[in-house]
């Protein structure tokens, strides 16, 4: 089998604030077959994750990942299948989730971060980027180990219509919480109630803003705040924390786009008077627990207790625009790009 053209998306410019379509460029490159010790992946799905935005900044390397390079393919999570292999550990047909590049084909030697997946034939492979992927597992472990939701507690979720939030909200319901989701439009509020199944939704852009929404929907305060936003959102919520509240710091969307430092909450003192806890985590710390977590979540999916809520875009050329749309709040659930058959 030969390999033809490989379309890839380059980082054409470093985004200033929210990413724009012109920051990305889709180009065609020639591919060569794998050498000894290499294998070729046919990428099937690209996962779009807001968290990667920060590594598009100049000098963003932080000991976790290096900053992306201008003119090089954008870094991201990709789900692919081995098409050709000259590597003893990877067989044709294997499914792999890789932190690699926005491209249709990837040559690899196993040195990039990647993990083999046993794709359940009853489930869509794309589940492994969303509800059964890092975003879903972020909700699972964050609520389990930091949020520690108890039945009847009020659980507030920011960016609840996003990839992480829409799974976290469902899991908080499964754990017995009264779940309140925050999002940016009335239409997404309805989606949260109807599709995600939250008990109440707050449109933080409505009159009165988040504060009025919290007074109305969380009149007795918030026991668990699962936060993807940080900044002013976190600050506003902190004034509503109940005693012994837990703040799960899952992401800090408010800082990814910012070229200026974003202040932390003015209400830090609330953590003391409310004896509250705030903790960050990285889902990758739980890698040894993934199999057990995925088994539990896959069972929930099959029983219908958990839904795979995804927003699918088709074609590599739409990857950059879809990534930009995510920062405008345009997605419902996990945003993935399905790559068309190529070559």
């Amino acid at each position: 089998m030969t390999v033809g053209t490989n379309r890839r998306v380059l980082l054409a410019a470093r985004p200033q604030g929210a990413p724009r379509e012109s920051d990305f460029q889709c180009v065609a490159a020639e591919m060569r077959p794998p050498d000894d010790g290499e294998f070729l992946l046919r990428n099937r799905y690209i996962s779009l994750d807001a968290g990667f935005r920060q590594w598009m900044n100049e000098g963003a390397g932080d000991g976790y990942l290096e900053a992306m390079q201008l003119g090089e393919p954008v870094m991201g999570l990709v789900l692919g299948q081995v098409e050709q292999s000259k590597h003893p550990d990877y067989a044709v047909g294997d499914w792999l989730m890789c932190r690699s590049r926005w491209e249709e084909w990837s040559l690899a030697d196993g040195s990039d971060y990647m993990s083999k997946l046993e794709v359940d034939p009853e489930l869509s492979p794309s589940c492994y980027l969303g509800v059964l992927g890092p975003t879903g597992l972020t909700g699972y472990f964050g609520l389990r180990d930091i949020g520690k939701v108890q039945p009847g507690e009020t659980v507030l979720i920011s960016t609840a219509a996003g990839a992480v939030g829409s799974v976290a909200a469902q899991i908080a319901k499964l754990r017995g919480g009264r779940v309140v989701g925050m999002t940016s439009t009335d239409e997404k509020c309805r989606w949260l109630v109807d599709s995600v199944g939250v008990d109440a939704a707050i449109n933080y852009r409505a009159e009165g803003g988040l504060e009025a929404g919290l007074v109305e929907q969380c009149p007795d305060g918030v026991d668990v705040f699962f936060d993807n936003v940080g900044g002013a959102t976190l600050d506003t919520v902190m004034a509503h924390l109940r005693e012994r509240a837990r703040v799960v710091l899952s992401g800090a969307l408010s800082t990814y786009n910012s070229s200026e430092p974003v202040p932390g909450p003015y209400n830090m003192f609330k953590l003391i008077t409310q004896r509250a806890l705030m903790q960050g985590f990285m889902v990758t710390d739980y890698v040894e627990e993934y199999p057990a977590a995925l088994a539990e979540m896959a069972a929930w999916l099959k029983s219908g207790e958990l839904r795979n809520l995804e927003d699918v875009v088709v074609g590599i050329e739409n990857t950059g625009p879809a990534f930009c749309r995510m920062f405008q709040g345009g997605n419902r659930g996990k945003l993935v790009v399905r790559l068309e058959e190529s070559a």
Copy 2:
């Protein structure tokens, strides 16, 4: 026995920023003997605690305590002994620690917060306001339950020359930590090394400020930060947190004097990438564990492993000025006022 003049310190003005001597006024008032159900306390020591500053602000009531009233005696922790009693639960000679008022004598009916003390005859009664009081216990429980110091870990203490910090630093040493104390003068740095026993001290007002001090004294980062300050100090330290660091929020000195909201740390995202925890607590939550903790700490005091470091001012008329001096960083260890014999 008759009771004569009772000198008391009134809140003459609400402090703007750091308190000034003119915010307090020492006046003499007549006292009456206790009625049925009341008892009279001869106050021996007044504890000066920066945390009370916040309740001097207009409308500062926060569900924990009410704001102090202008023209009324200043609220504070006081250690007294029952002098006369017409209350069945309080006997002449009993030692009581009360959240009451800056005054020489107090009439009480048991409805204010107070707790009886068994004063160990081998120890100074004032220990119960400092190393064996709320400030000492704050260090004890904060390091035990949130800091969870492991031997060899780097423990950084802000306001290490203060009442809470000087005990926390000693306990962190007893727990096997490598302890670094922060303070505001070279002279206090020497006191930290010589009297408190820290491994290293940082004068955050020296050239290069706190950042340079951290680079020099905590080159591998900070495992546990016991913070009494908040604000910019917390922000700077957060950039130096090690993975799985714990930030113990014991106080927020930077906010007590401020009439404007103080932003939280810009480095909040560090909590995520470093999987770090930040938690507030109130020592009063541990009231049931006080006896066991005090027994352990009293044993340390008698064996010389822990020192009672206190800064004693004499006379009720010096209470206001001493409180102001504390906000200038003028004290070494726990600041207490010893009341002279009166009446």
